[in-house]
């Protein structure tokens, strides 16, 4: 850890000498460690000390971006010079108005000492417990357990000076027999909250319950999607639809539908980077404080998230959802929540005459028809047939091909309990999901296991 004072003072010194009209620096750095296991042994065990410093130089309406992974002053200066030279040789960007000005952001506790100091030996100790518990049933274990400590700072020539130290830890467990598997995971900023034995129990039980799976013909089934499966779908909905860019380019399923009812009344989705119940992070990578953005309220399309450039285009204010200066896919919702319902997974199972319980999905692709949010993907690590209110047996995995607008219009109920699920941006984001009961979910293919 370099520390707030050194990062801010160094970036300030470098930016002070900038010849650009406006200059921004973003620092992301720290130490990430990950222990990976398979066949109940640790087979990869890694640690990385790294940083990345981005400079965005503005000349009129021209923007140049350059980065380095060295915090040495001469390297920082060279990166800034590169950004400035690019800006001078750029074309004007009509959507650019100004870099953001200073705003106050919420004070949030995102750094936990126990996570920062967690050692390879401690990670090994934890995963050995999982191996031991699984071996009692002759099951093998795969997965990964990561811990990280990092710092993020955003500094610009208009007075923005944001800094946040953070830690993060994620564990995932796949327990396997010769013909079945089970899954569990946990995402937290505080590693002491990870209860590996309980997590192992969940994955072990799923693996045992789905042993000797039976084949099932594709077709429409009522499904109970556990939170990880729901998050797998939301992750893609976010990518193709919740950001300003696909919205403005009309490829999003939300484009031209704001104010219209697009899914069931029971579905409300929003983004809230300040909600400390999840993986909160209080500002975006332009230094704009995170705003709560309702995307779908009681089934009605409400809005999308913006960074400063895309906000200027729609003449609205940034909602604080910019990523790094070199990221060209625009604003992304990083802290998504689906409102809880009143039900529970157990009640949903009881109500199911004939349907499926899905633990998680694999290899979803949401590019088939983005305006209709048509996705395909496979089930994995614990898919079960439910009949007459009871889980009957595990089934071999199925492929779904389904419009998410149709699926979320067919929501029967949501659970009261919600889970924090990791997303593509696990250090600064997550998806908080209930279990969801959906009728007539379309499966179009099957596989051999």
């Amino acid at each position: 850890m370099i520390g707030k004072d050194k990062i801010i003072s160094t970036l300030n010194d470098v930016i002070k000498k900038s010849s650009a009209d406006q200059t921004e620096a973003v620092y992301i750095g720290g130490e990430n460690a990950l222990t990976r296991y398979a066949n109940s042994i640790i087979h990869q065990n890694v640690s990385e000390t790294n940083s990345k410093i981005y400079f965005r130089a503005i000349s009129g309406k021209k923007i140049g971006v350059a980065s380095t992974n060295s915090f040495e002053r001469e390297d920082l200066k060279r990166a800034l010079d590169n950004a400035t030279e690019i800006a001078k040789n750029q074309r004007e960007n009509p959507d650019f108005v100004s870099l953001p000005s200073k705003e106050s952001y919420k004070k949030i506790e995102t750094h936990f000492k126990q996570t920062a100091s967690f050692s390879p030996a401690q990670r090994a100790e934890k995963v050995k417990k999982i191996f031991e518990n699984a071996s009692k049933y002759n099951l093998s274990v795969a997965g990964s357990f990561s811990t990280s400590e990092s710092e993020i700072a955003v500094f610009n020539s208009l007075g923005v000076a944001c800094y946040q130290p953070l830690t993060s830890s994620f564990i995932n467990i796949v327990v396997m027999s010769d013909n079945s598997s089970g899954y569990s995971d946990f995402l937290t900023r505080d590693v002491t909250k990870i209860d590996v034995e309980s997590l192992a129990d969940v994955a072990i039980q799923k693996c045992l319950d789905s042993k000797n799976p039976k084949g099932l013909e594709p077709g429409e089934y009522d499904v109970i999607l556990e939170p990880v499966a729901v998050a797998n779908l939301i992750e893609w909905l976010n990518y193709i639809g919740f950001g300003s860019k696909p919205f403005q380019e009309k490829t999003s399923f939300l484009a031209d539908r704001i104010g219209q009812k697009i899914v069931s009344d029971s579905v409300t989705m929003y983004d809230d980077g300040n909600d400390e119940k999840a993986i909160a992070f209080p500002f975006d990578l332009e230094g704009v404080p995170k705003k709560r953005v309702v995307i779908i309220q009681n089934g009605v399309a409400k809005g999308v998230v913006y960074d400063s450039l895309s906000a200027n285009k729609d003449k609205v204010k940034s909602t604080g959802h910019a990523l790094t200066p070199d990221f060209t896919e625009g604003a992304i919702a990083l802290n998504l929540f689906i409102d809880a319902g009143e039900s529970s997974k157990e009640k949903m199972i009881e109500k199911t005459e004939r349907g499926l319980l899905v633990t998680r999905f694999h290899y979803i692709n949401g590019y088939l028809d983005t305006r209709n949010a048509l996705f395909t993907g496979m089930t994995r690590d614990g898919t079960f047939l439910i009949e007459n209110g009871k889980i009957k047996h595990g089934i071999k995995n199925l492929r779904f091909t389904e419009s998410m607008l149709k699926a979320f219009s067919n929501v029967i109920e949501l659970s009261k309990d919600r889970k924090i699920v990791n997303s593509w941006w696990e250090d600064i984001g997550c998806i908080v999901c209930p279990s969801i009961f959906i009728k007539n979910f379309k499966f179009t293919g099957k596989t051999e296991f």
Partner: protein, 480 residues
């Protein structure tokens, strides 16, 4: 740097590690993205650091840092040893590596025009002019062009005595048109989707693409798709273009032949493989028309290099020969399981990542057909071109791939355009239904710059040689 690396290597030897290697890597990246008459982004990135991999007490440890002082190298070496000792607490057997010659050598990729010497203005101008052609219809709502260039310098040094330096240049570009009308959105790309085409070549590769000359066709096909019929839901003959065959080979042969995946080490993320050890030299993976090679020596291929990140020389091997499953992609550790030598496919996407088994240039070897003859020989079917969506199960059996565009084939001729084409199948059944592969004239290597694998995620540059290929009795149009 050489002195610091050799001093750290001496330190590892003093620490009596079973095995150790250091990789130092320096990378320069330039990216340009143009959209709707504007230059959306130009960025340059510099990245350097080193990673130390050790076997201690029979288990692996790896640590890496972007700070390249001698003191930091020593700290990181100790960290790697500490990590290996933690790994060893769960080991069942010691890590054993295949015997390989410790080589001292250097490798330079071939390039006529260093893209970093070409002015930004020239590159931007080409992309703006190409997208200008795309925008000649108001139905094109998004016209994009992009270029990416990479310059990578690597040093590999091992306790066994290897010392290898490599310098590789990579270039890539593409143009993309998105047509929108009411609730219909359609996209065409050139020369390929997913950021275009890439090669270990210089700016001459971009010039040879002829982006300007192809822009009009891209625009018109995107517009044509807006009013096209949807791909029918039928079981039929399909002819798949070379670029889509690249994706087919990637997902259904490249990944399942990675021996680390087969041995279970990717289970938690991307899954395993149906190509289990008992199937080697026994499984009829495809028809006798199907031969697939891994060839890291093809000049200009995006998966071409001199040595992998274990210091093993680049090779050409068969994965499938005349339909028979004949080999895996291997590393020094996994090759030992088969009592073989490594075929040199261990690569890391940077200094800060541990090497994994990665595809090189994985190629469906050319057949004998001219494309015109193949279409003429097809009474009824669908011709599918360029990847749009991709999904495959976690043992690489059930797949469903979508393409940007398709054409009906009727009585040996291409007919009307279909939108949203999708085909699906089970891998061995699918490859066994292959009855014709086009010849060398239609065969080319497609660069894929976005192959994901591993935790932490690593994005690798790989490639696939392929030509248009025909398959019988394939289920298409399951997207309704």
């Amino acid at each position: 740097m050489e002195d610091k690396i050799k001093a750290t290597m001496d330190y590892l030897r003093k620490k009596k590690v079973d095995y150790g290697d250091i990789r130092h890597q320096k990378k320069l990246i330039e990216s340009i993205k143009v959209k709707n008459r504007n230059v959306e982004a130009i960025s340059r990135s510099e990245d350097q650091g080193f990673g130390i991999r050790v076997v201690v007490s029979g288990a692996w440890g790896f640590a890496a840092s972007s700070i390249t002082t001698e003191a930091e190298m020593k700290r990181v070496a100790n960290r790697a040893i500490q990590i290996a000792k933690a790994s060893a607490t769960t080991k069942k057997e010691n890590v054993v590596l295949s015997e390989e010659e410790a080589l001292v050598d250097q490798y330079l990729s071939f390039c006529q025009i260093d893209p970093f010497t070409v002015s930004l203005d020239k590159k931007v101008e080409l992309l703006l002019n190409a997208t200008q052609i795309l925008l000649k219809s108001d139905k094109i709502k998004v016209a994009e062009g992009s270029m990416d260039f990479y310059k990578t310098e690597k040093i590999f040094c091992s306790t066994e005595g290897a010392y290898i330096t490599q310098a590789v240049l990579e270039s890539g570009a593409g143009i993309f048109a998105t047509a929108v009308e009411k609730s219909e959105v359609q996209r065409r790309s050139y020369p390929n989707s997913h950021r275009g085409d890439f090669a270990t070549r210089g700016y001459e590769f971009i010039e040879e693409m002829k982006l300007l000359e192809n822009a009009e066709k891209v625009r018109e096909e995107a517009i044509q798709l807006l009013s096209a019929d949807p791909c029918p839901d039928i079981t039929t003959t399909i002819v798949i273009s070379g670029s889509q065959m690249a994706l087919q080979v990637h997902e259904s042969c490249g990944h399942p032949t990675e021996l680390d995946r087969v041995l279970g080490t990717e289970i938690s993320l991307a899954g395993g493989s149906f190509l289990t050890l008992d199937k080697l030299n026994k499984l009829e993976y495809g028809s006798d028309k199907v031969s697939i090679t891994a060839d890291a020596t093809i000049p200009g291929g995006l998966g071409t290099f001199g040595y992998d990140d274990e210091g093993v020389k680049a090779q050409r091997v068969f994965l499938v020969k005349d339909g028979l499953f004949a080999g895996y992609l291997t590393s020094r550790e996994t090759a030992k399981v088969l009592n073989q030598k490594s075929n040199g496919t261990m690569r890391a996407d940077g200094w800060n990542r541990i090497p994994l088994i990665r595809m090189t240039n994985i190629n469906l070897e050319p057949g004998e057909w001219d494309l015109d003859d193949l279409i003429a020989d097809t009474k009824e079917g669908i011709f599918m071109d360029m990847n749009k969506s991709w999904s495959i199960d976690d043992k690489r059996l059930n797949f469903q791939f979508g393409t940007e565009i398709a054409w009906e084939i009727k009585d040996g001729k291409l007919g009307k355009v279909y939108k949203n084409p999708v085909y699906t199948g089970m891998t061995p059944e699918f490859w066994n239904s292959c009855d014709a592969v086009c010849n060398k004239k239609f065969w080319r290597v497609w660069g894929v710059p976005n192959c994901g694998k591993g935790e932490p995620m690593q994005i690798m540059h790989v490639a696939h040689g392929a030509s248009p290929t025909r398959f019988r009795n394939i289920k298409v149009g399951v997207s309704k």
